[in-house]
């Protein structure tokens, strides 16, 4: 049983946490792709800057002496999301909208998003330096250790407060997104435009409004993903830049343009990464008692060495592109 709890700690919880972050990032990328038809590379910077907005707000709260029962990062999240949404709208207006107006090809927008990535990253580094920050400098990070001895395990189930909140918040936002896309007029218009932009225009749908709503949703979700990542690890200027590949992999694996696909893809990649680096010896060790001397398990028996964790996402991506290029949920193919 101890081994099973270890497996849950290492794979299920870690994978879920990672999966939630990937999913929230990938949803934004997939929505932007669906509506504007380009791969928005600067999404990582929306995530990172969102986390920095939250960090500054949290610092402001702390300086006012406001003490909250849950980590301040979560309390200020709605406000930071609003700021991020405005920021995303500003980026679109300043950099992408003029190119779209000129009728630039999607690939030009992709290159422009690289420019935006560099600028935002440069600005963040300019103001915050290259060091890392923690949300938990003034407050403590609660860790829940759930005793599992009643199951015959000597090891507790470990989850931190931010991790628990993160999973809850992600589930709530995915549900909210689902309701928005299937119940609201604007959400349906977003789906319509992703499905067939010309017909959406012909139907009289205000496409400029849909584009703005897309940026608001994508920016807010990116802020949520970035902040939660920063709460789980630490906040640094290349926070999300380093994981943009797994996030894109999640979006593509799920089928670009498919919101639910992106969520599934994010979770899939998150679990796959934590499963790939999992050390099976820890679980299979009891077998050593029955195995002969020459077949004892080595001390580490992982599918992939930990250094190569980030490549797992990419290998999955390549396999999916080769076997089923439209992604699991059948996204844009041409």
């Amino acid at each position: 049983m101890t081994e099973f709890i270890f497996f849950i700690n290492q794979v299920v919880i870690a994978g879920a946490v990672l999966g939630c972050i990937y999913a929230l990032g990938a949803v934004g990328i997939t929505l932007i792709f669906g509506i504007l038809r380009f791969a928005h590379f600067a999404h990582s910077e929306l995530m990172t800057s969102g986390a920095f907005f939250a960090f500054m707000l949290a610092a402001l709260f702390a300086s006012w002496g406001i003490v909250t029962p849950i980590p301040t990062g979560f309390v200020v999240l709605p406000l930071a999301m609003v700021l991020s949404a405005i920021f995303a709208l500003g980026i679109d207006k300043g950099f992408y909208a003029p190119l779209r107006k000129r009728g630039a090809k999607p690939v030009i927008l992709l290159i422009a998003s690289i420019g935006v990535t560099l600028m935002v990253q440069g600005l963040i580094r300019l103001f915050f330096g290259a060091g890392s920050y923690s949300f938990f400098e003034t407050e403590t990070k609660d860790v829940f250790r759930i005793d599992t001895s009643f199951l015959g395990s000597t090891r507790p189930l470990v989850i931190t407060e931010p991790q628990l909140l993160m999973i809850v918040v992600t589930v709530i936002s995915v549900l909210a997104l689902h309701l928005f896309l299937t119940r609201s007029r604007l959400g349906k218009a977003m789906r319509a435009m992703a499905d067939n932009a010309d017909l959406a225009q012909v139907s009289g749908i205000n496409t400029a409004l849909v584009v703005r709503v897309t940026w608001v949703v994508a920016g807010a979700l990116a802020c949520m993903a970035g902040t939660m990542l920063a709460l789980d690890v630490t906040l640094k200027p290349d926070l999300a830049f380093n994981i943009i590949i797994p996030i894109f992999a999640a979006a593509i694996v799920g089928g670009l343009g498919q919101a639910y696909g992106a969520i599934a893809g994010g979770l899939l990649i998150g679990f796959a990464e934590s499963l790939a680096v999992f050390n099976w010896t820890m679980v299979l060790r009891p077998l050593n008692a029955v195995l002969p001397e020459w077949a004892q398990l080595p001390s580490t028996l992982a599918l992939v060495p930990t250094e190569y964790k980030l490549t797992v996402a990419f290998v999955i991506l390549v396999v999916v592109l080769l076997v089923r290029p439209t992604g699991i949920f059948k996204g844009a193919s041409s």
């Binding site: 007029r185 349906k188 319509a192 499905d195 959406a200 225009q201 009289g204 749908i205």
Partner: protein, 234 residues
């Protein structure tokens, strides 16, 4: 005053104009049919009215107001609606959601209109929860028309509604168009099945080279030997 009146409309996609002076006038009680050879500017005329390409000369008066170069999100609330020839349904959305998208510009309740559309196309009511992409070609055409009717248009424009349909469906679609017209919606359509469509048209326009060649009632055009010879295949 006509519902819509085109006066010497010139326009195209930026290069040489495709329309070189199109004139037509449609009343709300009319069924107008545009026929002509390929490349005559039939579909282009509809797109010009709907603001999908640049109009560089002439006027398009809708209810007495020049609407040339207005975009669809302004035209739909005024009472214009358009069914494109291809890709005219949202394939990943249900039939009902397709209809709702047609009512996007409406601020009032559209439940009544939806009931009216379902009454007109009972088969859609049965399949309201199905994705439109799963329907047959004829049923998709109904979804497309239903979607366009959801904005309660005064003028419905259709680009080759019978294209790619089996003969049985062609007749059904034409009957539906006549019925819609009888409910007080002006019709302006482009048709390849020229003879069949002109048979029920109250106004017919033969376009060639981006200009009107013949104008008259449907019956007049069918009876005109020159039209019959050059444009209706003898």
């Amino acid at each position: 005053m006509a519902l819509i009146e085109l006066k010497h409309v010139v326009g195209g996609y930026g290069g040489a104009p495709i329309l070189n002076g199109v004139n037509m006038a449609i009343e709300q009680s009319d069924i107008g049919v545009i026929v002509g050879p390929n490349g005559a500017g039939k579909s282009t005329t509809l797109k010009a009215i709907f603001g999908l390409l640049k109009v560089t000369g002439g006027t398009i008066d809708f209810l007495g107001e020049n609407v040339a170069n207005s975009l669809p999100d302004k035209l739909v609330p005024k009472g214009l609606s358009f069914v494109p020839q291809e890709k005219n349904v949202f394939t990943s959305m249900t039939v009902e959601e397709n209809l709702e998208m047609g009512a996007f510009t409406r601020k009032d309740s559209f439940a009544e209109t939806m009931a009216w559309v379902y009454e007109m196309f009972p088969v859609l009511a049965e399949k309201r929860r199905q994705p439109a992409g799963e329907l047959s070609g004829g049923q998709r055409q109904m979804v497309a028309m239903g979607r366009a009717l959801m904005s309660k248009p005064k003028l419905l424009m259709l680009d080759e509604p019978s294209a790619g349909l089996s003969p049985r469906y062609v007749i059904e679609i034409f009957e539906t168009i006549v019925r819609v017209n009888a409910e007080g919606v002006g019709i302006l359509m482009v048709e390849q099945n020229a003879r069949q469509a002109l048979a029920f048209a109250s106004k017919g326009f033969v376009l060639a080279g981006g200009q009107n060649r013949f104008t008259g009632t449907g019956a007049e055009l069918i009876a005109d030997p020159e039209v019959a010879k050059s444009f209706l295949g003898g």
